[in-house]
Symmetry: D2
């Protein structure tokens, strides 16, 4: 059985395991104050061209999202996001559990636009009883989105502009950041993210690490005392160096970018194979997640040898599904799948 249903089915890139093993018996301080974390932070700041940024390593994506959002908002503020956004749908109300409402906006291909943000804020303050409504305080985006799509630099610049006008923080969830950066459709750099966002994450869990999300804080307003909140919310790993070691390995020799690039290229091969068979794609994704609309009979045949995710029923005989590649996907697996698609 070859598995394409998610991008976190395996462990970690071998380089990470090697460095974990070779550093294993070294004694270090805990809680992210070791030299591995320091070196990893330094590499990430450099990759982001953001020497002043604060970099923290958290264990998981849900955790990173709600800690950043809680650190940013006043008790009466909420966070604007796409209605399909991960925080609105798939984190069991983690943001609400910190007391803040998620304010969903209708998304197109998983994305929201600057104009929607501006309108939501304008509508808020235009209402006579605005104090009776949750005040927008932040915009949360994921890029790549949950549907594999990307924000362009122009789109993110417009959103940044809207946020600045409206007094909102801008936070980008980069759980799949690597696959976004290496996409053929991408025109953003880490430095662009650092310049346009108040906070963003660089995901490790889905891009080669055992676990771990790097949180990059560029806004001075968010930096102070962030580690207190990490500790309070169970997001400060005792043996923090495990995170430092992993991000060190990922950001040495461009490993992070190279493994993401490979996954994207394999995804594009799948994409072409779907299109060549005449199957449409549910979203215009040029990253590691592909959403073909396929005949049910083909899906049935494939399911004997491959795993993939059900997405939605399209009509009586067609279904949209998700195929993911990842840093761990092999050329051989993709070759075999493509061959089977062409049958």
């Amino acid at each position: 059985m070859l598995r394409f249903e998610s991008d976190y089915g395996e462990g970690a890139h071998p380089r990470i395991l090697e460095l974990l093993a070779s550093s294993n018996l070294e004694q270090t301080p805990g809680y992210g104050e070791d030299h591995y974390c320091e070196e990893a932070r330094s590499l990430i700041r450099k990759a982001c061209d953001a020497p002043e940024a604060d970099v923290h390593f958290l264990v998981g994506g849900t955790q990173a999202n709600f800690v950043v959002i809680e650190a940013s908002l006043k008790p009466w503020q909420g966070v604007l996001c796409a209605d399909n956004g991960h925080i609105n749908v798939h984190e069991t109300g983690a943001v609400e559990a910190t007391g803040h409402k998620v304010l969903p906006l209708p998304a197109r291909d998983g994305k929201i636009a600057a104009e929607q943000i501006r309108s939501a804020c304008a509508a808020h303050y235009a209402d006579d009883s605005f104090e009776h409504m949750v005040q927008p305080g932040m915009v949360y985006l994921s890029s790549p989105t949950e549907f594999g799509t990307l924000y362009t630099k122009a789109e993110l610049q417009a959103i940044r502009q809207a946020c600045s006008e409206c007094g909102l923080f801008l936070f980008v969830d980069g759980a799949r950041m690597g696959y976004g950066l290496m996409s053929e459709a991408n025109d953003m750099t880490l430095a662009d993210y650092a310049q346009l966002c108040d906070a963003f994450t660089i995901g490790g869990t889905k891009v080669g690490a055992l676990f771990g999300e790097a949180v990059i804080l560029t806004s001075p307003a968010l930096k102070k005392d962030f580690r207190y909140l990490m500790k309070q919310r169970g997001a400060m790993l005792a043996k923090g160096r495990l995170l430092g070691v992993q991000f060190l390995a990922l950001f040495q020799d461009d490993l992070y970018f190279r493994i993401a690039d490979k996954a994207d290229r394999l995804a594009m091969r799948l994409r072409r194979a779907f299109l060549e068979r005449g199957w449409s794609l549910l979203y215009p994704s040029f990253t590691n997640q592909q959403f073909p609309v396929m005949p049910d009979e083909v899906l049935k045949r494939l399911s004997a040898d491959y795993t993939f995710s059900f997405w939605q029923k399209i009509d009586d005989t067609h279904t949209a599904v998700r195929f993911c590649t990842s840093w761990a996907t092999t050329e051989g697996a993709v070759n075999r799948l493509v061959a089977d698609l062409e049958k």
Copy 2:
């Protein structure tokens, strides 16, 4: 200036002021443990034909809503409601501030249906990653709704049935309960509410009182230790007898029902006047709130002598507005308005 823009512009029915004055220097225990509260509870239990119900008096509607909801839900549960529901829109995220997500369903004329509830629960448990989503734990309805519409007994029975099947509590926000009960379109009684709901409120603020909402808890699961939560959330009035006195006055000699009935009759006169002029109504309301769609030029003329609430722009020359009657509205004021409408 005659004011029709809300139903809480005045103080209290004179009977309430009289009883507050006559009891003023009596010394009583605090926190709702006085004899006025006991007598009022007893009258309300009788009116609801619910001798086993617990009755608590809270100061305001937002407070009553979030305290009942918080008392009912597990930390990972949310509350289903109409997308226009008061808790979703106009309480500054009070429910989320207690850690619980509001789960909005698309409403029709402010109402949701049993089938939507059943579908939402079925969809939740059908999802592979249901533990990653907020679990529905309660249904919140307002009746009358924010748009003046009412749930029929058949609709509420169906919703009760859906809630029981899905393991959900049912909570009805009766901020305007009196105007609902006395509506010509109503077929529910307080006893029906007590029988079908796990919790509901009988609003005083908008129906003759200075302030106060009676919370009626019929589900044994919700009764235990409710007063602790009231105290914790600032919802236990020190001089609790003020609430007892008011609800005692309202439930003696059917005062609550008589003053609501008058407001409804005056609203129906306005309703007929709007229809006779050929103006449509935005919602099929037979309670004290009316939402005519009127020519802007008429609205402009009226605004010199009357207040009403802007609701929404319909087209270039028409606007939907809200006119409210209340226990305090006089026949004279309505006569004058009707005369001016007919001009």
Copy 3:
């Protein structure tokens, strides 16, 4: 039965009831935006010599405390207070329910000292793992305290100094503010409170009103968007004018001060009577609460005609109890009690 067990057993001063009655049918905007609230705010600002202060009217003391504290603290901060402080003991964990730890300091006669605050902060930051501990963010005092004692101007100046050095907000709970201001032991004015505190309350519930606490915010950092939080926490009364009317009545013609003064004078008569009988006082209180240590046989005799609160057992034959006077206590009642004490 004459009741001395609390200072909130009656309704309101008759002047308040009069003004509530005379304004009853006037139509006003809701939520504290009416002219009564505006006038009351203006009188309070003047009484505090604080033209820039924001004044809000909340319904109750627990509510006022947790809303002010929540508005002030970052998620990882806590509030320093006396270990017997109301927020630590008698508000069912209302502050913790907003996510913040109460950080109790050992109190002497209900009071804490500047040096304790300084030490607590120094100890926090001296600890290697300070990020693993709750960061002090505010100091909460009550004055008069729960034991009737008062902070002197010198003490409060020293506390202000400590707070400024340590980066802490200073909040004084003035639930019994009137009885403190009019005490023969007092050297503080409302203007002093406004100058030394970032936030403080002037209690109405225990000093003549039906209910209501005025929150005075002097720190610019606390002013912005405070009304959002009031609404979210159920602390924004729909018919807000009821609070405006009450505080207007209290601050016209110095009513608030005159009725508190009378209660204090009656308390001093009781105090002298206790001392003359040779009974010690548990706390050095010169306000409306007195805590005599009395022989059990005397208490037993008195309990046939008077109510008072049990405080603590002192020895096999003596008990400390609490006698309260209030704005509603009559000279006659005190005369009779004093006569009975002297028997």
Copy 4:
């Protein structure tokens, strides 16, 4: 430099790294639903003689504590614990951040007694205004405690009895469970913990794992829907098998017990060395943490070659410090330290 200042300075036992490496490229489902987690759960249930227990794997100790406590308490309940308890002191208010007050009891050598629990509950319900105070809902213990001491079976049976009488859940934080179980002073088994507690943890982070705490839920009341709360609080690891793999390695061939045993024996050597020098011990610890009171001049000399933790100043020339052994401590390191102590 030889480090004795904590028991989490290294990575993981080599067996764990081996199993992580050998399973690395295997594709498994996420979120703890893989076969490694299942096997580890099965071994733990067997070790606890608790076939009906639910076993969950969380990343860290703070996280495990607040998730279990939040899952157990009603909003108005708090958790009784020793005043030095980890949740009261060193978790940045994580429990309060979920809305619950920590209710500290004065501890002796880090422990509380059944009688204190009974008294606290009796005092709560004896108070006239008990609804104004936080209701005790759970008892939290750590064993070994933060001071290395242990609860005996008799003590825990008495505490269980008190909890059952008072309607409290009993939760034991076993972050250092292994060192407790293998202590020469221990008379408890995992089966005893499973029988006496409603919930307890078996710590991996400090006993051989990279990270991870096993949460064992024996009370049916706590089992339902626990995974929702894990997800909501960021405590459900995406690649959950990493936790399964680690606990599988630890519970195969008694590895967990063997490595803890070795650490305890080395600690006892240190203990004897301290006593032989005539230095007293601050707490009667027979586990891996030792707290000698030593002359400052000796500490100064040792600090050139060894790390240890400052604990508290005893007098002008003596200081209590903490030396920890762990699964990773070598005989050689202890030999050298003992030799240097004897100089």
